[in-house]
Every structure is written in structure tokens, then in C-alpha cells.
Symmetry: C7
Subunit: 93 residues, 7 copies
């Protein structure tokens, strides 16, 4: 099978509707309706000691990234430096 | 529980109405009505020897930051370099 | 025969209609109708340890590159740093 | 008591009407009516070997700084690099 | 006789109509009618280990360069970094 | 007495009408009527091995500098890097 | 006598009508009618191992430089980096 391998410090994200996928105590944004500012990491470029991994949900800078579409999926190449935060599991209640 | 972990040198701030939360000798700004220029530090990214800690109230550069909203709370990812000052306790009278 | 040898860190791409050339499990973009954001690597400039090779299919940043045309072929000189991703064969199913 | 502690290389200035506060041989500017280009240093950020101290009167680059107001006082966070000059005592007559 | 010796990393190019001068298997662009993006290297400035030599035909970035005219000839000072490619002889058929 | 001590690499200039002050073989500009591009060095900031001294007449880049006025005198804070030339005494005839 | 000593990496040029001053095999531009792009080096600033000397005729980048006029002469302070080429004597025929 063929896949997209990001180059340089690009991260490939799948733009997802987070509301439908998260549960429990997660912080769910209710703004940013049209173009979401978050997505799921699909592939990583050549990044030294990345702080994100494939499968992570991340926020990224608005208007960042180069979009490609594949069927119904929206994919986005975002420079690693434009990622703002990832969602992590914590022991807090 | 899930939380937002800022990446790179981003700081996650909660935008608060300072007037309602401070007391005593604190300097209370009475301008900047719509979009406040200050907030409370909620989380810190990967910052070497940060001068601010979680819970600090900070001023930041106007128009800086990427906003996300969660219920009634306004959260903002601000580059650490755009923080202007923090409010500290002193022995002065 | 004479050929174009890219200088500096430029990559020479041939702009191709990927839909007609790929098969199997490849991710086929169906947007970006007029000016495709992908092409085939035809020649490489002076790039240290390049992550792409001649023949690779690559995505590149929109609006990047200096175009030249040759007969029916569209060729583009793209800075290596503006390449976003290459298409690779994987063992995944 | 609580105070504003500038971060990074910011300097906190109190914008003052110099004409009312200076005397003797001091150079008194008579332009720049609306928004003065000078003020008194109130607090210093993390500046290595600063050339100004708290209490100094300084000139700074026009349009520089992030303003906050506190009652009647106008405070300004100015990058240290945007300070132009300080007023010093000399032995000259 | 007197000549133009480029300074710094400038390359002096003579703008030529390639169609009239090439033959055989050479790639001949048929676009870029008004202002060609290619020329012949006439002189080199102070460039360490240049990848082009006097006499080479080169492509350069559109709108780059400072033009001077001499009789019928159009000469152009182009920064070395703005050269895109040179035309080389290969053994390919 | 109090004086203006420039900070960083700023130079404090007094804007003078050179025509009235020079004599002999000096090059006297007759353009730049409104805002002169030259002045006399009044004070120097923290400049390592400066090529100008207090009292030197200097040319500086047009539109450079932050102006303050003091009575009839026009003073200007100009970055040292924006000085173009100084007027020197030579043995030439 | 007094002279202009350029500071930093500025070069002082005298703007000349080359057509009237050159002869023999020299390349004479016939464009750039209003504001010539070439001149004669009159003085050099603080440039390490300069490739031009006083008396050299040089081309420089259009729109570069800060002009001063002196009687009939047009003088220009041009950054050394904006010089494009100098005219040199060669043994070629």
C-alpha cells in the first residue's frame, strides 16, 4: 500500500470533528465551526524528539497548513512549529 | 481525565476578569474592556526555566495568542515571549 | 543529450495528473483541479542527504516554484524546503 | 502588596508630564503633546546589566510599548531595546 | 579592452533567445515570451566553488536581476542564489 | 546639570544648518531643504570603538531617527548604523 | 580641506555620465537615462578587503543609495553590498 510520508518538519493531520470522538472529562471546544483548529496526527516528518505521536489529537495555529483532500477526509500538512497543544491523559479528577 | 498540554514555548491562559478576583493593594487596570490583556496561567509548554508558574496572573501583548473556547471559559495559547509581566507579592507597603 | 541540472537546493518536478498514473491503495487527491500541488521528481540540485529521489511522487507547497514549459510537459523548480511529503510504499494493508 | 513584575526584557514605565517634575538645567521637550515619548522607570524585567535603574527618566521610541492604565496613571511595557536615552546628572555647568 | 567584473555573488548573464541557439535533444521552453528566464553566463563575481561557468546556459528566477543594456545585447546582474538550473550534456539517449 | 545619555547604539544629534557653520573647502549640500540629513554629534550611546566623536558633523539616512525638540534646537536619536559619513579634515588641497 | 569620510560599509560615489568619459572597447549602456546606475568611487567606508578602489567605475543596484548634491555634482552613499560590478581592464581583444 502507498502512504504519504511528510518531509522536513511537517506533520500530517486528519481534520476531525472532535465532538463526535471524545468522551469523559475532555475539554471540548464549541467554537471554530467551519475550519477546525484541531486534528489527529496521521504521520510525522523528520522531527528530532517529537512531542507528539501518531494518533495524538492536537491543536494548531489557525490558517496554518497546506490542505489536501482524499475522498471524504481532509488532510493537512502543518509545520511542527505551528502545533499549539496536544490532548493528554492525566491523573487529575 | 484529559487536558491540554501546550507544545513548544506556548503558554495556555485562562482569560479572567481580574477585577472580580483581586483584592488589597493590587494594581487593577480599568481599560481594555472587550478583550482583556491578562489572564491566569493554566498550563506551560516546553519552556526552559520559565519565569511564570501555573496559577500566575500575567499580562500579555495585545492581539497575541490563538483562542479556543470551552463552555463559558476563554482559553488562549500565547507564545511565552509575548508575556509582558506577572503579578507578584512583595513586602512593600 | 542536454538536460536541466538544478542548482542550489532546487528540485525539478514534472507536474503530472496523478489520477491517471497511480493504482492500488494509493491516496488519490480529488481537489486542486487547476494547478496540481504534486508532481514527479525529475532532477535534484545540490541537496545534502535528500529525502527524495528521482521518480518519487511528491506534494509541495501551493504557489511555490518557478514554472517552465517544454512541449506538453509542465516543469517546475521547487525549493527543496517547500516539498511537503512523498508517496512511499508500506507493508500496511 | 502585589506588583507588576515585567518579564523578558520589558521595562515598565510610568508616563509622566516631565515639565512639571524637572528643574534646573534639564532639557525640556516642548513637542509630543498627546502621547509623551518619555517616562519614569517603575520596574525592570530580566535584563543583563541594564543601563537604566528604577526611578530613571527615559526617552523611548514613539509608538513602542503596550499600555495599561491604573486609575489616573498610564503604565507602559516597553522593550528595553526601544529605550533611546536616559536623563543623567553631570558635572557640566 | 574594458569589461564588467561582477562583485560579491553576482553573475552577469547575457539574455539570449535560446530557440535560435540550441539543437538536438535540448529541452526548449516555449513559454515566457517577453522576458526570458534564461541566459548565458558572461562573468562571475566572487563565488566560492561556483556550480556554473562562463558559457553555461542557465535558468533564473523570474523578476530577478538588475538589467543593463549594451547596443542590442541585454545584460543582467543576477544574484548567484537566484539561478535555478544549468543545461548540461549527459550520456543519456 | 542634567543631560541626555543615549542608550544602546543610539547617537544624539543636533540638527544644524551646515551652510552657516562651515567654511573653506568643505562640501556644502544645497538640497534637502526641509529636513536636513546631517547634524552635529552631541552624545553617544554604548558603541564599541565608535568612528565618530562628540562635535563631529555627520550625514545620516533620510527618515532615520526619533526627534525631540528643546526650545529652538532639534535633537535626533539616530541608530549608529544609520550614519552615512562624517566630515573630516584632510591634507589635500 | 574637509572631506566626506563614509562610515560603516558605505561607499561614496560620484554619479557620472559614462558616455562622455569612456572610450575604446568599453561597454557603454544606452538605457537608464534619468538616474544612472553607475558612478565613480570617490571614498570608501570601513570595508574589509574591498574589491573596489577610489577611481573605479561601478554599477550599483537601482534605487539604492542616499543622495546628496554639491554644486553640480551628484554624490551618493551606496551600501557596499549593493555594488553590482566594476569596470576592469583586460588583455582580451
Amino acid at each position: 500500500m502507498k502512504e504519504l510520508q511528510p518531509l522536513h518538519e511537517y506533520v500530517l493531520l486528519e481534520l476531525v470533528e472532535m465532538e463526535a470522538k471524545t468522551s469523559g472529562g475532555i475539554i471540548i471546544p464549541d467554537t471554530a465551526k467551519e475550519k477546525p483548529q484541531y486534528g489527529k496526527v496521521v504521520a510525522l516528518g523528520n522531527i528530532e524528539k517529537p512531542s507528539v505521536a501518531i494518533g495524538d489529537f492536537v491543536y494548531f495555529k489557525k490558517y496554518s497548513g497546506s490542505e489536501v483532500e482524499n475522498g471524504g477526509k481532509s488532510l493537512l500538512f502543518v509545520p511542527y512549529a505551528d502545533l499549539l497543544a496536544k490532548i493528554v491523559e492525566t491523573d487529575k479528577i
